[in-house]
Amino acid sequence: MEKNNMNKKKNINSHSILLLITVGLFILLYAAGYFMYGFGANAKGFEKLQNFLDIFRTNAALICIACGMTCVMLTGGIDISVGSLVAMDCMILSVGMENSGISPTLLVPFVLLIGIVFGAVQGYLIGYLGIQPFIVTMAGMFFARGMTAMICTDQVNITVDNWFKQVAGIKVYMPFELGAVVNKRGVKMVPYVNIPVIIALVVVVLVFLMLRYTRTGRSMYAVGGNQQSAALMGLNTKRTKMITYILSSFLCSIGGVLYCMNTMCGTTTQALGLEMKAISSAVIGGTLLTGGVGNVFGSFVGVLINGTINSLVSFNGELTRLGGTVPNVVSAFLLFVFIMLQAVFAKLRERKQ
């Protein structure tokens, strides 16, 4: 019995080490950027607090989506429909507001409802009919991307002035003028974030609490860890799976609204490949695709790591001239390092047992 407990402790330790590595890597990466572009002659503004907050601003939607993806991956599934769903949400919002003149008060809940219905269909097919998540969500991906084109094939920009646009434009300044700098013209610049960032952070906290303290959250871990034992323990694995996919699509719809607030337009090619960014963020954050292991906080740091890589590359003139694909190579390499670390830890654990 005691030995069992010790094994358990070791398991948990090796998982938290993954998370620690993620956080450590992020700090290392950021420190590298700080020394490269934040000091002396090379100072380009990387040292500013605003640059750090900009990573949040550009990735607010991704943070939300990565939270949903983490939950799905915890149950051992995958959801590759998120990118297309974001595109569809953006298109509905822009066409609704711009061409049809519908109030965002109606449109935003409608989009969230679409997310829930979309997730419910996918969740039913996966949970109750036992079809593979990859295939179902791939069909969802095709469907949402095609629907985007059915609504409108052109780029629609939101120019109507309503609360949606006003909310998107609100700047939330740092309290106590933290990290404020005086620019060349002598104007004091206080670092700020916007509303999407705050919503994204609230989502992270809520999902974290849900996974840790609610029955649904714990069952997600149980189903991902071992579906048969979870079923023998009396958990409704089918329902848990369905709820997970509903949650994922719902969070993705919130992400879609945030994405739209950032871009203020809808196009058919929007958010292409966002699903892979979400998956790689979750994997970098220490979530195992086999299910049962992971943490929303890790995925959150994973998104920040991806964002920092992009930021670093954009600060480097040489790399920027090589083209926008360099971040992809760098983040692929980082992903490789990470999954190698995970594999090594998995092997070590196997040997211990």
Binding site: I78, L125, Y128, L129, G130, I131, Q132, F134, I135, V136, M138, A139, G140, M141, F142, F143, R145, G146, M147, T148, A149, M150, T153, T268, M276, I279, S280, V283, L289, T290, L322, G323, T325, V326, N328, V329, S331, A332, F333, L335, F336, I339, M340, Q342, A343, A346, K347
Partner: protein, 363 residues
């Protein structure tokens, strides 16, 4: 009449039943559409010789579906042996094409118009392209087989990096090779479209390998239970590795075909979303994505079915961007019919009926 029903029941249990039915349905839709439009009813099947090449809708499907069919061969082996999918094939395709064009034109050169401008013989470039794709496959295979990383995550690396490396190789530009000798892989061979011939050759090679060696059996047994196969003396690591290398090589071939078709290296678009088509082809072919038993013929028919659906939709006047909606609905219908829960439901109903009769008979 009863014998017909019995025959249908027997036939519907065959592995190739579903893929063939899908093809048949697409055919019927085409016939009905042509009949309504007042066209020649067999417009779909008609083909003719025009300017020394075969021409027609069915030829077009066989031509355009070649890349997906070639990819489906490798994907079938990967799915069967490792119970996972290789999502890097599309990206690796574009990498192979970019490397080939870069080697032929020289780094930084964007246009080649004469044979003399080539840096090396065409076949060297082609072989290099296929070889680099094989190396990508080896890397994926190493991660999956040796490091025991989930196939989708392992191949996510090249999914992200392959296209990007291709762009770096071609200096972020399109590289055009305006040479008949290079266009031949995506053009025509005598009167036949070369992609179809290449696909047929790939299928033939694979079929011969599977027939003459016990590779197929090994792959299936590794897919069903890697541990048991290892105990039975099969080197499961080597088998999985081999499957990924084969998959990589075939994606290289598909990449060369796709590059030659547009006689240029277009990293952003070559093989885009083709990995999804390949995986779909495997699933439509009646193969379980959970590994184990596989049916190569099913996958290939699946690949051409997808192309037939796409071509039909374009013929019906569906816009290219909207076509995925119908594709999604068709996919969902097919997988729902195939799903274990629905199958179990029908089996249960059948058992109830027979059980009821048996009880009635006994009393």
């Amino acid at each position: 009449m009863k014998s017909v029903i019995d025959w249908l029941k027997k036939v519907s249990k065959k592995p190739l039943f579903l893929p063939l039915v899908s093809v048949f349905l697409v055919l019927v839709i085409n016939l009905v559409y042509d009949a309504i439009q007042g066209n020649y009813v067999f417009e779909f099947l008609k083909f003719e010789l025009k300017e020394g090449a075969l021409y027609g809708r069915i030829i077009d499907i066989l031509n355009r579906g070649s890349e997906a069919a070639i990819l489906a061969i490798g994907m079938t082996l990967v799915v069967s042996s490792s119970a996972g999918t290789d999502i890097s094939v599309g990206s690796v395709m574009s990498l192979a094409g970019s490397l080939c064009c870069m080697l032929l034109a020289g780094f930084g050169v964007t246009h080649v118009r004469e044979l003399g401008e080539l840096q090396m013989p065409i076949f060297v470039g082609v072989i290099a392209g296929i070889a680099v794709a094989g190396l990508c496959g080896l890397f994926n295979g190493f991660l999956v087989a040796k490091m025991k990383i989930q196939p989708m995550v392992a191949t996510l690396i090249f999914f992200t990096a392959g296209r990007a490396i291709g762009l770096l190789l071609t200096n972020n530009k399109m590289v055009y090779i305006h040479l008949e000798q290079f266009k031949v892989f995506g053009g025509k061979l005598w009167i036949f479209p070369t992609p179809t011939v290449i696909a047929a050759a790939c299928i033939l090679v694979m079929a011969i390998i599977l027939k003459t060696t016990s590779l197929g059996m090994y792959v299936q047994s590794v897919g069903i239970n890697p541990k048991a196969s290892r105990i039975a003396g099969i080197n499961s690591v080597a088998i999985i590795l081999l499957c990924y290398v084969i998959c990589g090589l075939f994606s290289g071939v598909a990449g060369i075909v796709a590059t030659s078709r547009i006689y240029s290296a277009d990293s952003n678009n070559i093989g885009l979303n083709l990995e999804l088509d390949a995986i779909l082809a495997v699933a439509l072919g009646g193969n379980s994505l959970g590994g184990g038993r596989f049916n190569l013929a099913g996958s290939i028919i699946g690949a051409y079915t997808i192309q037939a659906i796409t071509t039909t939709m374009y013929a019906l006047g569906v816009a290219k961007a909207q076509a995925p909606v119908y594709k999604a609905i068709i996919v969902i219908l097919i997988v729902v019919v195939q799903s274990p829960a629905v199958k179990a439901y029908f089996a249960h109903r059948k058992a109830q009926k027979e059980g009821g009769l048996a009880v009635a008979g006994r009393s």
